[in-house]
Symmetry: C2
Subunit: 313 residues, 2 copies
């Protein structure tokens, strides 16, 4: 195999490793034409995957929930993720894994069971979901008018690309000058934002929604850190009014960690939190989250030798 | 340009014409990773596009609704569709057009407005959504237990690839031995199935849902044919009980036309329609739909000269 430029990222597609910019999905793959695909994203911090086993567990559950069974074993998928990071030569990375329905073996079939499912993955340089300078001042967030898709129609704990409602919220937020959006469900309970979980702090208690949300790995980390720090933290229904009267609000995501929010707006009225900057509990959780990274908490060193093996394929 | 094999279909991707099997979407395109894409499908019958202007009108409305603006003009898009069919050498074809969000110009941006939107299209040999032999006996359909995503969360009149609820219904139907599924909304009103509109016939009246559904072009054609034949036809709320007690049920779609349904089941009880075969009104509408095709109704001849121009690009 000739030397190839993996500096923009490295991908695994149908059994081959290619530069990320060459990685593509067939236009007739149901992973695209029906968004019939599940995914997960794990990050690499200073040469180590964060909570890799937890991400792989969630990814496996998602595949099972959607009857997706690519040929690679879990161990092979794990090796592929290592190889992608190694090929890209990254110390800090955003690493995506996907299982796609694929295309039917029988021409013209409309049956998911007739499709050859396949696994894809890639490692790209780290990107924050909310830019670092916005995290520093605290994000300005619109409560979008579009209701989140109900859990009964599309299970939000099965990580998927069906972002229609989230994108509508994002377009609405950007159109009004906000950094991003959060969505409530049709009953007026807080759910999540485009790519992140949401937390509310009220009277010293930390709350995160029990519905309409991914069971985020960063969310789980925050709940564990709260327990260790003696902060009461609960997964519970959060009425919109509580969000609008919160003491602090923050977002969590793999691609950004704990991200403080300084303003929450309905579009008509804007609730400015604290002194229009990250609140003390948000800041403490953020600091502790990254301190634990430095200490190697849940980190799995990237096995760079697997990149050599991958290139030899 | 060397001779290429377009016999499996021809596609237009980022300004180039390629064999369909080579057409692909970048793995980091938001059209894939956020299913941030709208599409439309028009069919070609015996060398002519059916209701091409109506499909392009709907496609334009969908792009506007999602703030998608690819560089091609409508006239250029239309020429590209002609060229795809011409390159593939097809007389009967399934022709898809798509507008994708694309990728951000600014690395790391999470703003839809920062993305380069793009237009894709392809022509492939005709495929029926429901196989012809199943249409002949009448399809066996499960009323899926999964509720359709509400219109307020994801607008079903903006044709999209977010098939999560529809795929869940399809998996449920196939698991129980049915040909396909229809979905009701959370309030128990009939919506649509995976890739088709649904019609109910009761006491000589034809009804199709007013919610949870694409405004199908075949659906519109059937409503027009009903008017011409003096059959009362209405867009209206259809409670699930009416579906379960219908005299006839049929589906409509671009990729199949009018498709009779012979059985509708809740999983527990199966309602056998008529004599377990296509009903008389369904059969008459199907016949008239194809008879009008033969007569050239709403057909635009494929301009095969555009394939030559395309190859010269």
């Amino acid at each position: 195999m000739p030397d190839r430029d993996f500096s923009q990222g490295a991908a695994y597609v149908k059994g081959r490793f290619v530069p990320l910019m060459e990685a593509a999905v067939p236009v007739t793959d149901w992973g695209f034409t029906r968004s019939d695909v599940v995914y997960d994203v794990v990050h690499v911090y200073h040469g180590g995957f964060f909570r890799l086993a937890d991400h792989l567990d969630r990814f496996e559950r998602a595949m099972q929930a959607r009857h997706l069974a690519p040929p690679e074993t879990r161990a092979q998928m794990e090796d592929i993720l290592h190889a992608c990071v190694g090929l890209a030569g990254l110390n800090d990375a955003y690493v995506s894994m996907m299982a796609l329905r694929g295309r039917p073996r029988v021409r013209g079939s409309r049956r998911p069971a007739d499709c050859d499912n396949h696994f894809m993955a890639y490692a790209a340089p780290w990107i924050d979901v909310i830019p670092p300078e916005v995290q520093a001042r605290g994000a300005h967030v619109l409560i979008a008018s579009v209701p989140r898709v109900p859990d009964g129609s599309v299970d939000p704990t099965v990580k998927n690309f069906q972002w229609g409602d989230l994108t509508t919220g994002l377009l609405e937020a950007h159109g009004q000058g906000f950094d991003t959006a959060v969505l409530c469900d049709a009953e007026g309970f807080l759910t999540e934002g485009p790519g992140f979980n949401v937390f509310v702090v009220k009277d010293g208690r930390v709350l995160t929604p029990d519905r309409g949300s991914l069971e985020g790995i960063t969310r789980r980390s925050v709940l564990e850190i709260c327990a260790d720090l003696g902060i009461e933290a609960t997964i519970a229904p959060i009425p919109r009014a509580l969000l609008e009267s919160a003491d602090e609000v923050f977002a969590t995501t793999t691609a950004g960690g704990v991200m403080p929010i300084a303003r929450v707006s309905t579009g008509h009225t804007t609730h400015i939190l604290g002194n229009d900057r990250p609140g003390p509990i948000s800041a403490a959780l953020r600091e502790e989250y990254w301190r634990r990274h430095e200490a190697g908490w849940h980190l799995t060193p990237v096995r760079r030798d697997l990149a050599e093996t991958a290139l030899a394929r």
